[in-house]
């Protein structure tokens, strides 16, 4: 059965819609609650994982290694959940990394900016203008975050199958639209789409395991064969290939490991100058 991924410009709104859609369709809701499992599995604090999802990168720490590491773990745990089907997923940035799987319906919900600012102003006791500026800044930060973490602008509508604005359409109607849309035949899982999802899950699992020692490794999976690309100095090449093959080969679901090594040009140049 299909998987629904919901993204929103406002976390609370997205969650509300996702939970309602899951209840109506009798699907399982997968949200940030699974971060606890990821934290336990990878020995990292849940707060750090949450921060990786929420915090916009500062100018100086744009590609902080920790955030990327956290995202690798979140990705692995989320994809593992999405393999189980009949899932509504929200709040885990899955719309940015679950790509090319035909039984996944990707929906973006745009909150009613006017209503949201009004509520926020009343709660905070500040002026509407101040709240609007604040919300705008938060949205820009979210956009920067998606660009930094996945080189993808999450506000770009072409990343979604459907974008629904709640400025005139209410939440119940949005849920109804999602329910009807997911019933279309093209969102039914097929062997090929299920295999695509399995490949994504396997590559994310391998990437998460390799992260500690080989953070720059790029991983791709194709029906049990895992292709890993990494950069190394010529003299380290063999050692690195062996280590990667050993680590990846132990992961359940991996039948064969292929490692492609490219020359680490900067380090090599540095070594030559020394």
């Amino acid at each position: 059965m299909p998987v629904i991924i919901i993204s929103s410009d406002a976390y609370r709104t997205g969650r509300e819609i996702a939970e309602s859609a899951a209840a109506v369709l009798e699907y399982r809701f997968v949200g940030r609650e699974i971060l606890g499992t990821a934290a336990e599995k990878y020995g990292i604090s849940e707060a750090q994982l949450l921060q990786a999802l929420d915090r916009s990168p500062s100018f100086l720490r744009r590609s902080s290694k920790l955030r990327k590491r956290c995202m690798a773990y979140i990705q692995e745990i989320t994809l593992c959940e999405l393999l189980k089907d009949e899932v509504v997923c929200q709040g885990l940035a899955a719309h940015l990394y679950v790509l090319g799987v035909s039984h996944v319906l990707r929906v973006r919900i745009l909150s009613d900016a006017e209503r949201e600012s009004g509520q926020s102003a009343a709660q905070r006791g500040t002026s509407l203008g101040t709240v609007k500026k604040l919300l705008d800044r938060e949205k820009t930060a979210q956009r920067r975050w998606s660009m930094d973490a996945f080189s993808s602008d999450e506000t770009d509508p072409s990343h979604y199958d459907l974008v629904i604005s709640l400025s005139q359409i209410d939440s119940n109607e949005a849920v109804k639209i999602i329910r009807e849309t997911v019933g279309y035949p093209r969102f039914k899982p097929m062997t090929y789409s299920i295999n695509c999802m399995k490949d994504l899950a396997l590559s994310s699992r391998v990437r998460a395991v390799l992260w500690e020692k080989f953070p720059g490794a790029r991983v791709r999976a194709d029906r049990g064969t895992v292709i890993i690309e990494t950069a190394a100095l010529k003299r380290d090449k063999e050692k690195r290939v062996k280590a990667i093959k050993e680590m990846a080969g132990e992961i359940p679901g991996v039948d064969y490991v292929e490692v492609h090594v490219t020359n680490h040009l900067f380090r090599q140049a540095g070594g030559a100058l020394r």
Binding site: A113, T155, P157, S158, D161, L162, Q168, I169
Partner: protein, 270 residues
């Protein structure tokens, strides 16, 4: 009972969706008719109007405001045509030109670039590279156009009620979405929303009439009470006050008209 505006890029099947939606709902489908109406009402050659509303304003246009006058004619024609309700409009910036009317459903249909390129290659018999650059150029022109005239990016989903990625659906699915939205309570035409539409049409007519003197004005209407804002140009304000009666002669439905200068322009002004 609603007005549906469908915004689309080239080869996104938006035209097909619009025409078939109109057919299913029994609505009138509008696109080129607006140009014909504007051209006929304001005595402008069709070709000149098409060029003015398609190409992004040049620096000279921005200074002279020439393009704004054409947009005012187009907006006025569009507002008058959709005023009668039960309309599907696909074409230029309907979501921006009909802003503030609650029973207007704003839909955008998008398609994958690769698919659009393929269609352009088939239709125009050009290479992949040429087809890609033609489509990107056209998209950029549209973007510049809306950015320079309305300060809005047509790719911003927040401008629409729905954005449908047609690649993942059939045309029939897209029609289902739009028709379902048209049946929603909040998009039904009410007496108040029709009044807003009538006011928009009236403001549009006044702005088009004044555009003969200057297109650099903003106009609002509330139950036929029309306000014209001219920014800080006192000379223009005086000139308008002198000639306004002549300029708006023949426009029906105006109860009162005032010209204001050095006053903040309300956000719903056109």
């Amino acid at each position: 009972m609603a007005i549906i505006t469908i915004s689309r890029g080239s080869y996104s099947k938006g035209k097909e969706v619009a025409e078939k939606t109109a057919q299913r709902l029994g609505y009138r489908c509008l696109s080129r008719d607006v140009i014909l109406e504007a051209s006929g009402s304001y005595h402008i050659p069709e070709i000149k109007l098409v060029k003015a509303i398609h190409d992004a304003p040049s620096v000279l246009d921005r200074l002279s405001g020439g393009k704004r006058a054409y947009i005012a004619y187009y907006q006025s024609a569009l507002a008058r045509l959709v005023q009668k309700d039960n309309i599907v409009y696909h074409g230029l910036a309907g979501h921006l030109l009909l802003k503030g009317v609650p029973h207007v459903i704003k839909v955008r249909i998008i398609a994958d670039l690769a698919d659009r390129v393929r269609q352009e290659m088939q239709q125009e018999g050009v290479s992949e590279q040429d087809a890609r650059s033609l489509i990107l150029k056209d998209d950029e022109e549209r973007r510049k156009w809306t950015l320079s005239l309305y300060g809005a990016d047509p790719w911003d989903s927040a401008l629409y009620d729905f954005v449908i990625h047609i690649q993942r659906f059939t045309v029939s699915n897209a029609i289902d979405f739009v028709c379902e939205a048209a049946g929603l309570e909040q998009f039904r035409t009410t007496r108040e929303s029709q009044q807003k539409m009538d006011d928009l049409a009236l403001a549009g007519q006044v702005k088009a009439a004044l555009a003969m003197l200057s297109a650099d004005v903003a106009v609002t209407s509330e139950y036929g009470n029309v306000l014209v804002f001219v920014g800080s140009d006192d000379r223009l304000a005086r000139k308008l006050r002198d000639k306004i009666k002549t300029l708006i002669a023949g426009i029906e439905g105006i109860n009162n008209i005032e010209v204001h200068s050095r006053t903040a322009v309300p956000p719903d002004a056109i």
